[in-house]
């Protein structure tokens, strides 16, 4: 089952294992410059608020009600990353934007595939910041209105049909988990988602932004380890911030600082390295997409304000040993 707790999604599979619980939340962050340079990981600036679409039935498009799920607000050209809060229990997680798989660039389906691997594995993968364009490099998730042609979905399919984020979670088979953890049972553990002429809408999709150094890790367990009969999925609708206020009656979070202001304030960026994990190759179809800035230049538009380069001075290394805390306050 999927529930909402503290502005995050919780996927629980009590029928598989009592410890099969995965939290997924959506972090506000800086938009890194979209300028062909590769940047380290930006901080987390707190979670985007989530709402059940059912709670706003009269004020959201009928299609959203068909999809079910949740909605969250983003400003145009705002960035996000997805945090996976797994304790020890492993999960395979498929992530798509506009039903375009963020790891492979392929069309959405409900199966897990190994070649190429089209999912991430938690807790090995603590977060995902964007589309996997090449080995060790992603393009940041950046919100753009559906209908203007910038989103990965519109660039790959020519249509602005779905938008939002789609997430599907598969727990590890209980027997595989028990075998895996037996050698390290010595300690206790707490407890426990025709373009150019289309109507521009208040719904948002995710477009490829600037380049960031982040590895998407391989699956060390293999396809047979996953309980594919027990999956939980959620459609995360993205609405522009002005529309969010009309729908929910609540103000959206304030705009995040610019990368330049954040860096000038001497605040940290991050890097993450897991020496025991292998990084996947990026997806050629995703590598071929235009970034928001590049497509804006081709279209004679300037979709990104404050896109000047920055030079992060303070980069905090994180890893499985050092800890995975990337959330900060500004």
């Amino acid at each position: 089952m999927v529930s909402m707790e503290r502005s995050g999604l919780v996927f629980r599979f009590p029928e598989v294992h009592a410890e099969a619980v995965l939290g997924v939340n959506f972090q506000r962050t800086l938009r890194i410059p979209d300028d062909h340079r590769e940047y380290p990981l930006p901080p987390g600036l707190g979670r985007f608020p989530l709402d059940h679409v059912d709670d706003h039935a009269g004020r959201v498009p009928e299609r959203w009600l068909q999809h079910g799920g949740v909605l969250l607000p983003m400003y145009q050209a705002e960035a996000m990353w997805i945090a996976f809060e797994a304790r020890e229990y492993p999960f395979a997680v498929k992530v798509a934007a506009g039903k375009v798989n963020a790891v492979t660039g392929g069309a959405w389906d409900r199966e897990l595939h190994a070649r190429p691997q089209d999912y991430v594995v938690t807790p090995r993968q603590p977060w995902l910041d964007g589309f996997a364009v090449k080995k060790g490099v992603i393009r940041q998730f950046v919100a753009m209105p559906l209908g203007r042609g910038y989103t990965a979905e519109e660039q790959l399919t020519g249509e602005a049909e779905h938008g939002g984020l789609q997430i599907c979670v598969y727990p590890m088979k209980a027997a595989v988990y028990e075998r895996l953890r037996r050698p390290r049972m010595h300690s206790i553990n707490a407890s426990m988602v025709d373009a150019c002429c289309a109507e521009i809408r208040s719904e948002m999709g995710l477009a490829p932004g600037g380049l960031m150094r982040q590895e998407v890790y391989d699956d060390p367990h293999g396809l047979k380890a996953w309980e594919t009969a027990a999956s939980g999925r959620c459609f995360v609708h993205i609405v522009n911030s002005a529309e969010y206020e009309r729908i929910t009656g609540r103000k959206p979070p304030t705009k995040p600082p610019t990368a330049e202001a954040y860096t000038r304030a001497g605040l940290p960026w991050f890097s993450y390295y897991d020496e025991n994990a292998q990084a996947l190759d990026g997806a050629p179809s995703l590598a071929g997409l235009d970034s928001v800035a590049a497509l804006g230049w081709k279209k004679g538009e300037q979709p990104l304000e404050d896109n000047g380069p920055v030079a992060p001075q303070k980069v905090v290394p994180l890893g499985p040993v050092q800890g995975k805390v990337r959330e900060g306050e500004f």
Partner: protein, 116 residues
């Protein structure tokens, strides 16, 4: 297990791999005196405030609700929910007292999955 003992075990486990999890550094990050944290771990001092327990939970990668429960506290947001409709929630919680986890989970509101 007592609150202090649990905190110490969780911290020591992290310290095996990362020296930043010494009493001194954890205390510094959560904003208390090292001697105070040490006494809490030894059970010589009552558990700290809700805000401190939440910071400890974040620093040690633990669940805040679990730590609060071990400390005999109920989080402020839950108190607010109960106080808004005390009779209803008191009755609900008493009814759920003996129910197994899977039955309680049926009461939790699910994020509805639709057709997509």
């Amino acid at each position: 297990m007592e609150f202090g003992e649990f905190i110490r075990e969780a911290r020591e486990k992290l310290r095996e791999q990362d020296s930043r999890y010494s009493v001194r550094q954890v205390a510094q990050r959560v904003g208390v005196e090292p001697a105070y944290l040490s006494k809490i771990e030894r059970g010589e001092q009552a558990p700290p405030s809700e805000a401190t327990i939440r910071r400890l939970a974040e620093d040690l990668g633990q669940d805040a609700d679990v730590l609060l429960a071990m400390a005999g506290k109920i989080s402020a947001d839950l108190k607010e929910v109960i106080c808004r409709r005390p009779q209803l929630f008191a009755a609900l919680i008493r009814d759920l007292r003996e129910m197994p986890d899977h039955a309680i989970l049926r009461v939790v509101r699910e994020v509805r999955d639709g057709d997509w």
